[in-house]
Symmetry: C2
Subunit: 271 residues, 2 copies
């Protein structure tokens, strides 16, 4: 998917919401766990079918599938295949935090861009340029680099400065020099909204994937005010706040209501 | 597996060799690809069956399995189950480069330590403490943090200094303060043998996983001289140099010869 098409979807749906799928068998409605042959898939499918008109992107957290071994991986592959074929206008993200030496990253790119039809994948930047470049060779696919994450441990390394730049700013500026840098996006936690203005200056044209709004304390208004660019350039993620809004037979209604509330706030901000 | 048991295996086998399994269908002997129902598994099994007496650890590169989707993931699960049940004295490493916020890392720990019986997993440290700690709650299991890798991109961020410490040294020293830090090991590329002496001072008791000897240019003697501690504390990895030493019906003989050469060098160094 191109930046332009993603922007058009944002305008059409008046939304820059990313639906995060972190299916947890301990939180999925019990009747589904009891009756479904594949509760990971069936739960996510039901949420996507009902919420897809309110969001422009879907982020699948691969760990929640891998935790169940081969069966979980099969559910993951089934889910992304279903979403990409039924809702081709949704921008899909493998939240997989991969990254390795070049010939290994090449295999991860094959896994997520060929064996599975994701539009993008999150990448840890620690190993540098040649660990990221294999993902950038695919037209209209994106590598979403971790820059500043929303967890406590972000302060351990990401916020450490070399005198001039904190590490996350080094990641932003250095990676912008790589080949096909237009296929990079960045993860920036909403709990750090005060940093967003500076980040936007460093990467004026890149989309930012922003977790941490709502449950984790970030403000949507602050994110938009500091982070939006001409193409909006923001995908604000909500996972648990939508997935587990309800936990009985009416869980999809509760999910729709939670997503609609966010979408309406976004529509206002988009004007 | 405990440090002590790993050390005993090193003494017993006079080897600190780690066999790296990166099975590539383009390099596996053609007769296997043509005839096997599961060439990834069959190739790796044959190599392990023949080489296991010469090495103390086996490192499986998960990307080479994930590249084939569900079928590849099934081969991975079958392989680690086979190795851990047939060769329980081999220390097993999932070379998976995972790492995410706490509740997600918890799922990756379940994937690699419960759904699959690995002894350890490689982790990218970018997200800090709470992204690593879930892996450290398992007794006799290990998280192997990327410190200084052997690829070109290592210089992009890992070697950048904050005035006092390069990032990889910050990773070493900061992580040693975390709970259960005795369950940490570190990846240190052999191409940086000159750094090994300093690294050993910072983490005197930790095992170091060292890729990059041989094909990538590192010297085994220099690694041992600079990196060994009282328990040896080194796992030197060789992947392609063993796996693809031969490419016809006699590929296992060629693999054994390549591994034996390394093991004999190690035996000399161990004295």
């Amino acid at each position: 998917m191109t930046h332009q098409k993603l922007f058009e979807q944002i305008q059409l749906k008046k939304s820059f919401l990313c639906l995060g799928l972190d299916p947890d068998l301990d939180k999925i409605p019990q009747h589904l766990v009891d009756t479904s042959q594949d509760p990971l898939f069936d739960f996510c499918k039901a949420i996507v079918d009902n919420v897809q008109h309110l969001c422009v992107a879907v982020k699948i957290n691969t760990a929640f599938f891998e935790a169940y071994g081969v069966a979980g991986f099969a559910s993951l592959e089934k889910l992304i295949t279903y979403i990409s074929s039924h809702y081709p206008d949704l921008f899909t993200i493998a939240d997989a935090k991969r990254g390795d030496i070049g010939n290994t990253s090449l295999r991860y790119a094959k896994a997520f861009f060929e064996a599975m039809p994701f539009d993008s994948i999150t990448i840890a930047p620690y190993m540098g340029k040649d660990s990221v470049e294999p993902f950038l060779t695919y037209e209209d696919k994106y590598a979403i680099l971790l820059a500043l994450t929303s967890n406590e441990g972000a302060s351990d390394f990401q916020l450490k400065s070399n005198g001039e730049w904190e590490l996350y700013k080094q990641v932003l500026t250095t990676s912008q020099l790589w080949e096909n840098a237009s296929r990079l996006m960045y993860v920036v936690g909403a709990t750090k909204a005060e940093h967003l203005k500076e980040i936007r200056k460093l990467v004026p044209n890149s989309f930012l994937l922003v977790p941490g709004v709502g449950a984790q304390g970030g403000s949507l208004e602050a994110v938009f005010a500091n982070g939006a660019n001409k193409q909006v350039g923001l995908l604000v993620n909500s996972s648990r706040g939508i997935l587990y809004a309800g936990n009985d037979e009416n869980y999809t209604d509760a999910a729709v209501a939670a997503a609609a509330e966010l979408q309406q706030q976004m529509a206002k901000l988009l004007g």
